[in-house]
């Protein structure tokens, strides 16, 4: 109850921090998508490269987020960006790569060869085949990757507070430092609710974006 009171009393502040959080997550997700999806599509043509790219993304994912912030700080400090939103957004982009690249790669790889042949038979060139056949079929899986990345990024953005990036993690940080349980709870609850909400919204998007044909196919197979 006290936590709710805290949130209501600091309404403006909460909105501002939430906006910072949303800003970091969405900017990084947009850039990550712009890098990850084309990369995921390109590597479907080159098996050896695919293995290397996915393995490196995997290693990236293994590095603990706070350690990555720590290792990036001295490097980015050379250009005067050691603290703040820049290291946070770079880290978020790097962490998003694995789910986005992997899902894009797997989705495009799994497009059935007969559909590809049908496209070719209709006289599509490679680009048209990608645009008209492969991507529409792969899109639900790609969005699922974006969903994983978004939820993960919300959690990492909360940790990014410690390198001065702001966001809802500020309440957790300040709450712990001041031993102010309502503040900690408010931060933790807001971040969790935000993550769960984004997860749910992305699930809806995933369903909405699936081509009707695939939905019908799924229903028939059940």
């Amino acid at each position: 109850m006290d936590t709710l009171n805290f949130i209501i009393q600091n309404y403006d502040d909460v909105l501002f921090l939430a906006w910072e959080h949303i800003f970091m997550v969405s900017v990084s997700l947009i850039i990550a998508t712009a890098i990850g999806v084309p990369l995921g599509i390109v590597i479907t043509k080159n098996e050896a490269l695919a293995k290397k790219v996915i393995n490196s993304a995997n290693i990236m994912m293994t590095i603990p987020s706070i350690a990555l912030f720590g290792l990036m700080m001295p490097v980015l400090a050379i250009v005067g960006q050691g603290l703040g939103k820049v290291p946070a957004i770079i880290a978020l982009i790097l962490y998003s790569q694995l789910p986005i690249i992997r899902n894009t790669y797997v989705a495009i790889k799994n497009v059935s060869p007969s559909l590809r042949d049908a496209g070719k038979g209709m006289g599509m060139n490679r680009w048209e085949l990608l645009k008209e056949v492969e991507i529409p079929i792969a899109v639900p899986v790609i969005v699922a990757g974006l969903r994983t990345a978004a939820v993960m990024n919300i959690g990492i953005a909360a940790i990014a507070t410690y390198v001065g990036a702001g966001g809802l993690g500020v309440y957790i940080q300040n709450g712990i430092d001041r031993v102010y349980p309502e503040m900690i709870l408010a931060g933790a609850l807001l971040v969790s609710v935000f993550a769960i909400l984004v997860d749910a919204v992305m699930a809806l998007v995933e369903r909405g974006i699936t081509p009707t044909g695939i939905l019908i196919q799924k229903r028939m197979s059940q």
């Binding site: 994912m61 603990p64 912030f69 720590g70 990492i156």
Partner: protein, 244 residues
Amino acid sequence: MKDVLKKVYGVIIALLLIAVGVGLQRTGTISLFSDPYAYPELIRLLWQHLYLVGISMSIATVIGLIVGIVLTRPRFRSYTGVVMYVVSLGQTIPSLAVLALVMTFLGIGAKSAIFALTIYSLLPIARNTLAGINAVPGPTIDAAKGMGMTTLGILWQVEIPMAMTVILTGFRIALVINIGTTALAYLIGAGGMGDWIFTGINMMMTDKLIAGALPVTLLALLADFLIEMLRMLLVSKGLRMTEE
């Protein structure tokens, strides 16, 4: 052409290593590692880190395996959907939020950190055990039944070995997340390598920052590698061949 590329890669990697080395030297990280006063501190923090990871992972593995196995028994199978939903919801909650939430109820210290880490690691292990055993094909189990194996025998000799890859993947995810989250446990007073990372950030001490972040990173990568080795050891050769 390929040889040339290989040489170029080699040169790039060598240059990167040199750059990292120079960076470590310039920031004073190397002298911190060999400092007679800082060195025992590093060992103590590393030990504390491993202690937190070890205890929470052991508890999480035992509980996760039991929960996963119990839920695949016919009597409890109807609860699978509900449990999977709760588990995936739990994984949506950020690690820092879990630590903070636990701290408000249990206070600061190693106990609350271990509690939070255990809960957070429990989820992937239980989920993958459940998914792995559920994915064992029905005909295989029928064959085992036909050979006169008991339920326990089927579980021990058929279901668990066949689900091992998936279970180990869950264990690996849990372990890597656990090592990273333990670095945050410093914030709720449990110590660990996070001590040097956060001190380094707050005081702008680059040497301490790197000396804290590097071991955690290496630890996570090492854990990832060791589990892969464990997979080679635990998963039967035939299964590995069909997987690859």
